[in-house]
């Protein structure tokens, strides 16, 4: 009758007695891409899970209906809905590494998917897949098929997951934060692939994300969700250029923009370097071949300085950070910290002096210990505080310093939100009064609004305690908001460095230009 693929009418969803989604209405036509943005906890992922439930999550429809290709999904039995998975509705999750069995070749996983849907034909299996790979611009199809997911980067895994869903020709594809674990370059490739998918196969797509940059590039329609409701809905162009709702405006405002560039380096009277790297290199052995993860990097940092390192995944930025933090030993070169070479061994004070925070906050805490016990471990071991009352008072003051209620320290990491947990990680790191804080992509898994709060916190902490920070990120725009100097890394080498303004306004290397181009395309 029409080309509406999915229509959601007055949908309300209940979880544990509370409405997590209420009165949602929208229609999606064939070949259309709908973007849904909102912060964590706004109910956007729940919406996807309601359309196509995978596990029994304890959520149930308290009102409204979901119509997919003239069938009322919401009144179908679980068995019937299982039939829709993959073949009619595809779904792709946030963490690309885990959507495939890491140690089974793609070929086998493709075959079992096709077999499950009765679509496997041995003779034209390869041609069929290679054609899809080609359409989606995935090169070296044969090599991909014979590799295992653990050998591929996150971006490649996500693209292959999309290719696999194309193979089943679903009319609707649901994407849950498909790009948030990827760097800009990989994000671009995924976006390009989704657009090609729509072009070749007329698939309708719902993409749920907190990354407004991604939706702005891809979506035809845009819905903004807050507290379980769609507060604004319209064509992507309208919503992005002319947001009406207050919440939408505040959300867009939190997206980092280039503008408040720190032009000149802070007046730093001390000429002593806090940290100095000389020809730092790191080599890994793989199949008897050596692989240079970091090669000949030189840099220096003054006390209180904030340095940003940008580059895509695999450019060696995290490896470099690990050398500085003492988690890996450099194969070559020297690292001077407060004038002492710390490449081979470092004392307790030097360990205290350099602290590190990681991307995946939940994994950086022991899930079975309360935040308080994790922080007190650091205090006991590195500061020698043994008195319980003193420990608790110190932890409470640290929690307040990072903007958390002291009572949150008595929770387990998984009981906190990503932002809260990251703040707790910062509290743990600054508990030993470090001179240098290493931040490895600490905001990339967080919502934009939380991201900006964390950045503000870091700047405040740096000012208060005259602490130097090295901030590693793949988001060059974000880095310009906090850093005075920027270093661009590519294939293990430092290809360009300078003040934030120099890099943004006058990039010298093509690679930097490309990074900036992606960041500014809107």
């Amino acid at each position: 009758m029409n080309n509406t693929v999915l229509s959601v009418e007055n949908l309300s969803v209940n979880y544990g007695g509370i409405d997590v989604i209420s009165s949602i209405n929208f229609k999606l036509n064939k070949g259309e891409i709908l973007g849904i943005v909102g912060e964590s906890g706004s109910g956007k992922s729940t919406l996807l899970k309601t359309i196509l439930p995978i596990d029994d999550l304890g959520i149930f429809l308290s009102g409204g209906k979901i119509i997919f290709e003239n069938k009322i999904l919401s009144s179908m039995t679980i068995m019937l809905r299982k039939e829709l998975r993959g073949k009619h509705i595809g779904i792709i999750f946030q963490n690309p590494k885990t959507s495939f069995n890491p140690i089974r070749t793609y070929r086998k996983q493709f075959i079992e998917t096709l077999k499950s849907h009765g679509k496997y034909k041995k003779e034209n299996f390869e041609n069929q897949i290679l054609e899809i790979f080609q359409n989606l611009n995935l090169l070296e199809g044969q090599r991909i098929l014979d590799s295992c997911p653990y050998e591929m980067s996150g971006g490649m895994n996500q693209r292959i997951a999309i290719a696999l869903s194309v193979l089943l020709e679903p009319s609707l594809l649901l994407l849950d934060e498909p790009t948030s674990a990827l760097d800009v370059t990989a994000q671009e490739q995924v976006i390009d692939e989704l657009l090609r998918m729509r072009e070749y196969y007329q698939t309708s797509i719902i993409i749920v994300t907190h990354n407004i940059r991604v939706v702005s590039k891809i979506a035809d329609k845009l819905g903004v969700m807050n507290k379980g409701k769609i507060v604004e809905f319209g064509t992507a162009k309208d919503v992005l250029e002319n947001p009406k709702h207050l919440y939408t405006k505040s959300l867009f405002k939190a997206v980092p923009q280039i503008g408040n560039l720190v032009d000149k380096k802070k007046e730093n009277k001390t000429t002593d370097h806090l940290l100095e790297l000389k020809n730092i290199s790191k080599e890994f052995q793989k199949y008897k071949k050596s692989f240079q993860a970091v090669s000949q990097v030189n840099m220096y940092l003054k006390p209180g300085e904030i340095l940003g390192i940008v580059g895509e995944s695999g450019s060696g930025k995290s490896t470099l950070l690990k050398q500085i933090g003492g988690l890996q030993k450099a194969t070559d070169g020297t690292i001077f910290f407060k004038g002492k070479n710390i490449v081979l061994n470092r004392t307790k004070t030097e360990f205290c002096g350099i602290q590190m925070i990681f991307q995946n906050v939940f994994e950086s805490f022991n899930p079975r210990r309360k935040i308080r016990s994790s922080i007190s471990e650091t205090l006991k071991n590195l500061c020698g505080i043994k008195n319980k009352i003193e420990l608790n008072a110190k932890i409470d003051s640290l929690m307040e310093k990072v903007g958390l209620k002291p009572s949150l320290a008595d929770r387990y990491p998984l009981e906190l939100s990503g932002g809260q947990c990251q703040r707790a990680a910062i509290a743990r790191a600054i508990s030993v009064n470090p001179d240098l804080l290493l931040c490895d992509e600490i905001t990339s898994a967080l919502d934009v609004s939380v991201q900006s709060e964390i950045m503000k916190l870091l700047i405040k902490l740096a000012k208060e305690s005259h602490m130097a920070i090295i901030f590693v990120s793949h988001d060059i725009v974000l880095v310009t908001n906090i850093c005075e100097t920027i270093m661009v890394m590519h294939e293990g080498k430092c290809i360009e460095s300078g003040t934030a303004k120099e890099i943004i306004t006058n990039p010298k290397k093509d690679y930097t230009k490309q990074l900036l181009e992606y960041a500014f395309e809107r």
Partner: protein, 308 residues
């Protein structure tokens, strides 16, 4: 892969050499004069001259290293010495026993695998269902009951009351059944629990959710993905149990009169027949080392990540 196996095989040489040295040294320093024991066992009167002559014959007057080297060379030729008890070559004695123990251990192991893998996977998939509770309870009981008690219960029901199987096994196929059962029931209980835990862990992984989202049939997910990935953590337990089965079936062999190596060793220990014990220890050590090697090679097949 080939290089890896060759490398691992080469690594076995020093390990086995070390083992032989330790075994020889342990017996060398153990109290008692082998020449005297030999003579007593043969019922010869131990005068000083005879003793001295026997020592000369046995090479006991040589320095330690020379004795070890001679013994090692003989060992490499398959000569493990002569039993003090009856004067027959040790290798000949052990060979027969090992054959029977191997049959018993293999059948118990195979039976355990055949039963525990499907049941372990089943309990993982049906976690917290009634059937899971029942199987869990039985496993608990099976783990708790000592196998000699189990053996006696089995003999009582199957041999004495129902008269299906012979009481004395004596190496026959019919006789094999009950010792196999007695050995494998505790193993099955242990394996089921291990497999259940490993499979539950895998079932909670995101790739399972991903596979379900793609509409992959549940049996593909369970067999090719969950089972295979769980095997990586189970295989160590499985492999080590082979060693335990080979060396630890002594009690069961004695109860069922199974003519395996266990019974022979028990007798030799009581009689302080050192060459036989020495031979046994070496063979067991080699079996353990080889089983470990096989486990490591299996890891490579199951988890390609280990290659790097």
């Amino acid at each position: 892969m080939k290089n890896y196996i060759i490398k691992r095989l080469a690594q076995l040489i020093p390990i086995i050499l070390g083992l032989t040295f330790l075994t020889f040294a342990l017996l060398y320093i153990s109290p008692g004069d082998p020449a005297q024991k030999k003579l007593i066992a043969q019922g010869v009167a131990t005068t000083t001259e005879v003793l001295e002559k026997t020592r000369e014959e046995m090479g006991l007057n040589q320095p330690f290293i020379k004795q070890y080297a001679d013994w090692l060379v003989n060992l490499l030729h398959g000569d493990m010495g002569i039993s003090y008890k009856d004067g027959t070559p040790v290798a000949q004695k052990l060979e027969k026993g090992i054959k029977y123990t191997f049959i018993l251990a293999t059948s118990a192991f195979v039976l355990s695998i055949i039963i525990s893998i499907p049941l372990g996977m089943y309990t993982a998939v049906r976690k917290n269902y009634f059937s899971d509770y029942v199987i869990q309870f039985l496993c608990f009981a099976g783990n708790a009951i000592p196998n000699f008690l189990l053996a006696i219960i089995l003999i009582y029901y199957f041999c004495i009351r129902m008269k299906i199987f012979p009481v004395i096994a004596k190496g026959t196929i019919q006789g094999l059944f009950l010792p196999t059962l007695a050995l494998s029931l505790p193993l099955i209980s242990r394996f089921i629990r291990q497999i259940r835990v490993a499979a539950i862990e895998q079932l909670g992984k995101d790739y399972v959710k991903g596979a379900r989202a793609r509409g992959i049939k549940e049996n593909y997910i369970i067999i090719y993905n969950v089972l295979r990935n769980s095997m990586i953590s189970i295989i160590t337990v499985l492999g080590l149990s082979i060693g335990t089965l080979m060396g630890g079936s002594v009690v069961i062999e004695s109860i069922f009169m199974w003519p395996g190596i266990g019974k022979l060793v028990m007798d030799s220990i009581t009689a302080r027949d050192y060459p036989v014990i020495q031979g046994f220890v070496i063979i067991m050590a080699i079996i353990y080392v080889v089983v470990n090697l096989v486990i490591d090679i299996c890891y490579h097949f199951l988890d390609p990540r280990i290659k790097e």
